[in-house]
């Protein structure tokens, strides 16, 4: 079975190469070939790989996945996107159908001189020099098989480039819609986001599937923040059980830039977020927040890496998880402080509440510090709800069921309240509160 998929991918790569050779810049075709070579030698990971120890990737081989070329995509399957929109009046929408930028559904309301938003393939041709400077320069296709696979097959995705000194007030919604009506596709969006000096930008990503066949989305996003740039990045994963996501985000930060991410994994049989930031100059700040609320046999795996390569940078990391039934979560937070990165402040915390005996969390803080003048801390907790808090609520006449929901609500709200986009915050609250509704919680309206 395993060999079948590797063979299929190899023959897809030959077809794909024939098609794109000469079409893309030559230099980039070299990168693609190298990436594919790496993918072939790395192969798909198994549990023997330290980075995938707690993730069951057998879905890759159990389903009849294949990579499809442009002309094989059923774009017609997507006729209406209104159900997938979040109620924001002035939000800019970028729709990617099976990883391809959709002119038809995307809607941008910002002047082009402030920000360029469009298809990566298009940009590969008319902005070749810029793309060449950034694309495949940050996300490592040498070590990570999924980045290698994505890089080998780069077809399209979203290209965003904010000019210098612009504040983009209205967020950009990147909407991934995958069609899986006849076949089970491997979908590989590739995004490149560049934020100019002193500019501010907010993006959120959501994910949807049309059709009932399985989907494997292997996305890679590279982000380059110039000096003093400020970028907020949200992901809300609320997927159907037949979709599998592996999402790699690699951020490169220049002097005094601020990157803030908030990743919600609320539903889905396989959600892996590999989320990395690299400080390429001093005074950078990275804030990594996340929440996973899993039930049934859901799985979410957050692997983060913050590389403090230069002095005087800060990172704050807080991931919280609620795990019920037989759900399974992984948190692996690595902080790497280079020898010259003096005066680094790095804080990391991962807190988990397990609601059933079969729920599983594997949490692993990893601090590797080679500088000697730094402030770093980490902590991980997992347990049940606090008994004293629960009794306090009971002693005021609040039923156990409601008391539990109230406490879970409170636990989650610390992360939810960090969302600065009102429409998105409400959307996340609604998804979280849906869980409580079954337990008769009415106060979510005021959460």
């Amino acid at each position: 079975m395993k060999k079948d998929l590797m063979n299929k991918i190899n023959s897809s790569f030959l077809d794909f190469s024939k098609k794109v050779n000469g079409k893309y810049p030559k230099k980039f075709n070299e990168i693609r070939k190298n990436a594919f070579k790496n993918f072939n030698s790395l192969g798909f990971p198994t549990r023997a790989d330290e980075e995938w120890k707690y993730a069951d990737t057998s879905f890759i081989h159990k389903n009849d996945f294949a990579i499809f070329l442009d002309e094989e995509i059923d774009y017609q399957a997507v006729s209406d996107i209104s159900d997938f929109l979040i109620n924001g009046n002035n939000t800019n929408i970028v729709v990617l159908i099976n990883g391809r930028f959709s002119e038809k559904f995307s809607k941008i309301n910002i002047e082009a001189e402030k920000i360029k938003i469009g298809s990566l393939t298009e940009a590969l041709n008319y902005k070749a020099a810029t793309i060449d400077k950034h694309l495949a320069r940050y996300a490592s296709f040498e070590k990570d098989p999924f980045v290698a696979l994505n890089t080998a097959f780069v077809t399209d995705g979203c290209y965003i480039r904010a000019a210098e000194g612009v504040i983009i007030e209205n967020p950009i919604h990147i909407l991934y819609i995958n069609t899986a009506i006849e076949n089970a596709p491997i979908v590989q969006p590739r995004n490149l986001i560049i934020v100019g000096e002193c500019s501010q930008l907010k993006i959120y990503e959501t994910y949807h599937t049309v059709g009932t066949k399985p989907v494997f989305q292997n996305a890679v996003t590279e982000i380059f923040l110039k000096r003093f740039a400020n970028f907020e990045h949200y992901k809300v994963q609320h997927n159907n059980s037949n979709t599998y996501y592996i999402d790699t985000t690699q951020v490169r930060q220049k002097r005094a830039s601020i990157y803030t991410s908030n990743t919600f994994s609320l539903k889905g049989s396989f959600q892996r977020n590999t989320h990395n930031a690299y400080h390429d100059d001093e005074l950078c700040q990275s804030n990594f927040y996340g929440m996973y609320y899993l039930e049934g046999t859901d799985f979410a795996d957050n692997h983060t890496l913050i590389e403090h390569a230069k002095a005087n940078c800060t990172s704050n990391e807080l991931y919280k998880g609620i795990i019920d039934d037989k759900a399974n979560a992984v948190f692996n937070g690595k902080i790497y402080v280079y020898k010259d990165a003096q005066q680094t402040s790095a804080y990391q915390s991962n807190k988990n509440i397990l609601l059933s005996n079969d729920a599983v969390i594997n949490t692993k803080p990893q601090l590797e510090i080679f500088a000697d003048d730094v402030k770093c801390s980490h902590g991980a907790t997992c347990g049940n709800l606090d008994k004293e808090q629960l009794f306090y609520l009971l002693s005021r006449g609040i039923s156990e069921e409601k008391a539990k929901s109230l406490l879970l609500n409170a636990f989650a709200s610390e992360i939810v309240e960090k969302v600065s986009i009102a429409e998105l915050r409400d959307y996340v609250k609604k998804l979280v509160c849906k869980r409580f509704e079954t337990e008769g919680i009415y106060f979510c309206e005021g959460m």
């Binding site: 004293e388 808090q389 009794f391 306090y392 609520l393 009971l394 002693s395 005021r396 006449g397 609040i398 039923s399 156990e400 409601k402 109230l406 406490l407 609500n409 409170a410 636990f411 989650a412 709200s413 610390e414 106060f443 005021g446």
Partner: protein, 254 residues
């Protein structure tokens, strides 16, 4: 009217006897003060009444409004009108006091067969009760007890008591850690809530609180028994002489 009747109550913690036969009756309209040296069992008594489960009742009966209290889970006791002001109120990050009280009040109303309280009425009620213990409005919209000083936490307990209007309130060392101003505020809150229909059990170390909350009865708990009961003057005597003479009295009776 009899609110609470405790008969020969004996309680163990980890097989160790803590209460050794308590007898106490509290009628509506009465304030009882429970005093006694450290380790005499005061807080254990409060905990048992509130429905904590880490105790083993080995003997005795407790009835509340004619019902067997020991068979009622904590949440039902609260709905039926028992309130415990905690010695160490718990901080709950992410739950505002307003939300907490609205939830608790509506649970109680549901229990009584009433509709949930109207939002405007609730706000008005909260405002009035907060004024009673001089709590600022913005406190109510902050997480329960989070970052509150000791005095603020205790005032919040009395505020909650005012909101839930219990029949029987047990105050577990509500005066500990309070400065004199906070003490007056807390005592004033209790006095204003006191009526002919409800009863109070005020557990305290010091006579000081009883300058402001005037009890009908004072009991001294020692070695898990009520060693002495008397009128409010007993508290003054204890303040003056300490607990040693009670200890001697108990020893001479053995």
């Amino acid at each position: 009217m009899e609110l609470l009747k405790i008969e020969n109550l004996k309680v163990n913690i980890n097989k160790k006897p803590i209460l050794n036969g308590i007898n106490l009756t509290i009628n509506a309209g009465e304030i009882h003060a429970m005093m006694g040296p450290n380790g005499s069992g005061k807080s254990t008594l409060a905990s048992v009444l509130s429905g904590r489960t880490e105790f083993e009742v080995t003997e005795g009966k407790v009835s509340y409004l004619g019902k067997n209290l020991l068979e009622m889970p904590a949440v039902d006791r609260a709905k039926e009108g028992i309130f415990l002001a905690f010695q160490y109120p718990v901080e709950i990050s992410g739950v505002t006091t307003a939300n907490f009280m609205k939830t608790a009040l509506n649970e109680k109303r549901k229990h009584l067969g009433l509709e949930p309280i109207d939002a405007m009425d609730f706000l008005q009620m909260m405002k009035e009760k907060a004024a009673l213990v001089e709590i600022k409005n913005d406190f109510l919209h902050r997480s329960v007890n989070e970052g509150f000083s000791g005095g603020e936490k205790k005032r919040n307990e009395v505020f909650q008591m005012a909101m839930l209007e219990p029949r029987l309130a047990v105050l577990d060392e509500t005066d500990s850690g309070l400065d004199i101003d906070a003490l007056k505020i807390v005592a004033n809150g209790v006095n204003r809530l006191q009526s002919k229909d409800n009863g109070f059990l005020v557990i305290t170390h010091y006579q000081r609180l009883l300058d402001y909350i005037v009890p009908d009865f004072v009991h001294v708990l020692y070695q898990g028994r009520i060693a002495k009961s008397g009128p409010k003057e007993l508290a003054l005597e204890l303040e003056e002489k300490g607990y040693d003479w009670i200890k001697k009295e108990v020893a001479s009776q053995m």
